[in-house]
Structure formats: structure tokens, C-alpha cells
């Protein structure tokens, strides 16, 4: 009898093995989909509560920013590409998505400290919920591109689907690094300040205010910037807007995808292994 009783007892908080963490994270997300939905809704409602314009801000913000950059650019260069403002808008939208996903994943444990102390949940949920709300807000922002298509007399083509795909790639590229750093950020908040700096600096090092084509014109520059995993999604979205398949070199695509997948695997494993010791620091 004694053995039968013992068998029912399960070790509290037993986790799956580290190597399998990337796979088990799918089942965690599927099982908790109702909670993730609610957390995303909370995030989005919270962001625009108490504001008269509400969701319009998602479109207004990139539009206003681009107007400023456009003005700056025609002051510096005499003869800008007529579509330059659009390139900046797309760059801003995609880069902001990457930056916000990265920052919210890095801070996912520290921001939710009070919930973590009271309920046991797979903490991965907090990371993916904040990424989900960022993706949703970015999709809303990209609506600004539709009136621009008409303004520039461009056709609505099926290639426009590459804009949301690029947004998803940008978000995915951020998740791995974010998950990797989130447990370390519990111990030492220097991480989140460093990430904030990286997101700001990366804005200029990524093709937000410049384009892949400009880099090619410089020759050597294209060989350097191809190593930046964010060049591919931004270029993909811009070409999609023009209604063409991207001509971005295949090795650049490989670099971007390899970065995303490798970081996601490493990040998930590290997060799974260290979040438990990390929450004691909260």
C-alpha cells in the first residue's frame, strides 16, 4: 500500500529538462492561452487608457516621427528619394517593434514581481504576453501604410503580406536575446539600462533612416551591415510595400534567421534553467 500512496505524490515545481525547453514552451503557451489573451488585453488597454486619441496614437506616433526625420533629411541631402518618408516610417515601425519586444522581454520578470510572488505560473508566459501585445500594436501602426500606398499611387499587391511577416521576424529576433537576459536582469538592473542604450544606438546602426540600397551604393558598407539581423526584416517590409519580392541576398536572410532561431533556443534554455534562482532576487 505504501508504494501506491507514494506514487501519487509529485515533486512540486518539477520542470522539463533544459534541452527540451524550446519544445515544451509551445505546450506551455497553448495551455495558458486564455491567460495570455487576458494579459495582452490588459497591456493594450492600459497603454491607451485615459487618452482622448486612444488607438490613433499607434498610427500617429510613427507618422509624426517620420515627418521629423523627413524634414531633417531634406535639410541634409538636397535631392531625396520621393519615397524616403515611407522608408523611414517602415523602418521606425519595424525597429520600434524589435526594440519594444526586446525591452519588455528583458523586464518581464522584474515588471511582474508582485504576481510572481503570489502565484506559480510558468514565467515564460509574461515574456510572450508582452511580445504579443507589442506585435498587435505594431500591426495597428502599420495601418498608416495604406493611405500612403494611395498617396504614392502604388498598387495594393499580395506582396504587402511581407509587411506583417517582417514584423513577426523582428519580434522573433528580439525574443531570444530578451529571454536570455531576463533572469540576469533580476539580479542586476544594469541589463535593462544597457538594453535601452542598445535599442537607441541600434536605431542608427539599422536601416531605419537609411536603406539597404544606400548601403550597396557605398560598396563596403553593405558587407558590414549584412551582419545586422535587423536589415533583412526592414528591407523585406520595404520591398513588400513596393509590391516586389525582396532581392536581399540569401546569405543575409540566413544570417537573420540563424540569429533569431539560435538566440531563441539558447534564450529559452537559459530562461528555463535560471528563472527560479532569479526570482529570489525580486
Amino acid at each position: 500500500m505504501g508504494d501506491g500512496q507514494e506514487l501519487q505524490l509529485k515533486v512540486v515545481g518539477e520542470r522539463s529538462s533544459s534541452i527540451l525547453a524550446p519544445f515544451s514552451s509551445f505546450s506551455v503557451l497553448f495551455y495558458h492561452q486564455f491567460l495570455i489573451q487576458n494579459l495582452i488585453r490588459k497591456d493594450i488597454r492600459g497603454k491607451y487608457s485615459n487618452s482622448f486619441l486612444g488607438y490613433i496614437w499607434t498610427v500617429l506616433e510613427p507618422a509624426l516621427l517620420s515627418a521629423v526625420y523627413y524634414f531633417l533629411f531634406i535639410m541634409i541631402a538636397d535631392d531625396p528619394d520621393p519615397l524616403y518618408a515611407v522608408w523611414v516610417i517602415i523602418g521606425v515601425i519595424i525597429w520600434t517593434c524589435f526594440g519594444k519586444c526586446l525591452q519588455s522581454t528583458v523586464t518581464c520578470l522584474t515588471r511582474n514581481a508582485s504576481t510572481i510572488h503570489l502565484v506559480y505560473l510558468p514565467r515564460l508566459i509574461f515574456a510572450y504576453a508582452s511580445v504579443g501585445s507589442t506585435i498587435w500594436i505594431t500591426f495597428m501602426s502599420s495601418i498608416v501604410l495604406l493611405p500612403l500606398l494611395i498617396a504614392y499611387d502604388l498598387q495594393i499587391s499580395w506582396q504587402l503580406i511581407f509587411v506583417p511577416i517582417a514584423i513577426l521576424i523582428a519580434a522573433f529576433n528580439a525574443v531570444g536575446l530578451g529571454l536570455l537576459l531576463a533572469p540576469i536582469n533580476c539580479v542586476n538592473r544594469d541589463i535593462e539600462h544597457t538594453i535601452r542604450f542598445i535599442v537607441r544606438a541600434g536605431f542608427f546602426l539599422s536601416p531605419v533612416m537609411w536603406t539597404w540600397e544606400m548601403a550597396i551604393e557605398r560598396g563596403w558598407a553593405s558587407e558590414v551591415v549584412i551582419w545586422n539581423p535587423m536589415v533583412f526584416p526592414i528591407t523585406l517590409a520595404r520591398d513588400g510595400f513596393l509590391g516586389k519580392l525582396t532581392e536581399f541576398p540569401i546569405n543575409g536572410i540566413m544570417i537573420s534567421m540563424t540569429w533569431g532561431i539560435a538566440m531563441w533556443v539558447i534564450g529559452t534554455i537559459v530562461f528555463n534553467k535560471y528563472e527560479r534562482s532569479a526570482v529570489k532576487y525580486l
Binding site: 500512496q5 501519487q8 505524490l9 509529485k10 515533486v11 512540486v12 515545481g13 486564455f34 491567460l35 487576458n38 494579459l39 488585453r41 490588459k42 488597454r45 492600459g46 487608457s49 485615459n50 508582485s114 504576481t115 510572481i116 510572488h117 503570489l118 502565484v119 506559480y120 505560473l121 533572469p183 540576469i184 533580476c186 539580479v187 542586476n188 544594469d190 535560471y274 527560479r276 534562482s277 532569479a278 526570482v279 529570489k280 532576487y281
Partner: protein, 239 residues
């Protein structure tokens, strides 16, 4: 013999004191604060166990180890069945969502699915007595109203193992009575209960056994009257 539903085996847990980026990867314990030291006990199915002790003695940490929030540095904790921790009612409440949305969010944090929450909603609304406020934003609620909503959601669940950390005594006297009755009802329904409280009267009336903790160690385990006596004795020694 009844089956065991919670088994705590030689659990030790320490919290890092000094924040260093290297500590997370290394095992050095020089600067750590030992919150639980070699704790072992078991709770049988259907038993109600109380834990008493002065503030900071590790009672809440112990409940959190059983709930799986903190994983012990040494030893392990086993359990059978779904565990719920009632603590800090209203976790994750946000001001700009309505009472109903907050209840849904809180319910999903506590692990309910959508279907169950929709089904429980009328019960939650009527228990919290917030019928006319439930679709107003939470920032318009008073502190007592928030606590009522929190307790209503938390008590709508039906766990096999219930861990309670000082949640009694919210709201006005009438609601306080109501919430006490509700918790007693939950205690009666739940298979197994571990209760942390400073209310010794309640302890003596409902607990089968009481554990007295001091500085992360179990000082006494057994009859509630003797445990309370052990508590006062150790307090006197301290003075």
C-alpha cells in the same frame, strides 16, 4: 491510514542578500539569508494545519515553496493534487480595467480557463456585492471593494490543497464575517489546508495540528494549544 497529500522533505531555502551578477551562476552562500532551515513535515489528506510564528520567521516563504513559487536549495517538496495559494488578494489588478475584466484576468492568473470563469462570474459578482459597480473601472473602487472582489474570485475556486496566507479580515465587519464563513466553507471543502495566521482563536478552532516556526526552523509541531504555548514561551525568552 490516510494518504499523504503534502510531503516536505528537509527543505532549506536561502535568499541572496548581496546583489551580484555572479551569484546567479555560482553557489556561494556566504552572503545569503537562510529563510528556511531543514524543514520536514507531512500533511495527510483532509488535515488542516496551522503555522504560527513571529513576522519574518519563514511562514509565508514555506507556503510559497509548497505552492512552487520558490524552489528549495536543498530537499524537496511533494504534493498530490491541485494547489492554490490564497495570498495578497487582487494580484495583478489594474485600475483602468473594469471589475469584470479584472475578475477575468485574476481568475486566469489563478489558473482558470475561459469557460469556467464565465460560469463562475455571476457567483463572483453576487458574493462581492458589487452588482452596480462591476462594469466600472477599478480605479473608482475603494480599497475594501477591491479586496472583496479579490476574495470573491479567489474563493470561487475549488482546489484539492488550499494554502491560506493571512487573507482574513478584509472589508467592513459584515463582509468580514461573510468572508470568514466562506473561507471556513472552503476549508471544509478542500481536501487539505495549510493556514498561516496570527489569529490564534481561529487556529485552535479549526486546525488539527499547529506548527510553530522561529527563524526558519520548526520549533514545535502538534496540538494547537501546546504550539501556542511554545510560541509565547519563545517570545518571552526573546524579551
Amino acid at each position: 491510514m490516510k494518504e499523504v497529500s503534502i510531503l516536505v522533505e528537509e527543505v532549506s531555502l536561502s535568499f541572496p542578500k548581496k546583489k551580484s551578477i555572479l551569484n546567479i551562476f555560482s553557489r556561494s552562500k556566504s552572503e545569503d539569508f537562510l529563510a528556511l532551515e531543514n524543514i520536514s513535515f507531512s500533511v495527510k489528506k483532509g488535515e488542516v494545519i496551522g503555522i504560527i510564528g513571529r513576522n519574518g520567521c519563514g511562514k509565508s516563504t514555506l507556503l510559497r515553496v509548497i505552492a512552487g513559487i520558490f524552489s528549495p536549495d536543498m530537499g524537496q517538496c511533494k504534493s498530490s493534487g491541485k494547489i492554490s495559494l490564497l495570498a495578497g488578494l487582487g494580484t495583478g489588478f489594474t485600475g483602468h480595467l473594469t471589475g469584470r475584466q479584472n475578475a477575468l484576468l485574476y481568475g486566469s492568473i489563478l489558473g482558470h480557463n475561459e469557460k469556467l470563469m464565465k460560469k463562475l462570474m455571476p457567483e463572483i459578482v453576487s458574493f462581492s456585492e458589487l452588482e452596480s459597480f462591476i462594469d466600472e473601472p477599478l480605479r473608482t473602487y475603494s480599497a475594501g471593494m477591491k479586496a472583496r472582489l479579490g476574495l470573491a474570485v479567489a474563493s470561487a475556486l475549488n482546489p484539492e490543497i488550499l494554502l491560506i496566507d493571512e487573507v482574513l479580515g478584509v472589508g467592513d465587519p459584515v463582509f468580514k464575517e461573510k468572508s470568514k464563513a466562506k473561507i471556513l466553507e472552503m476549508v471544509a471543502d478542500a481536501g487539505t489546508v495549510v493556514l498561516v495566521s496570527h489569529s490564534f482563536g481561529l487556529m485552535t478552532s479549526i486546525c488539527d495540528r499547529v506548527i510553530h516556526m522561529n527563524e526558519g526552523k520548526i520549533m514545535f509541531e502538534g496540538n494547537s494549544k501546546e504550539a501556542i504555548a511554545s510560541y509565547y514561551e519563545s517570545e518571552e525568552r526573546r524579551n
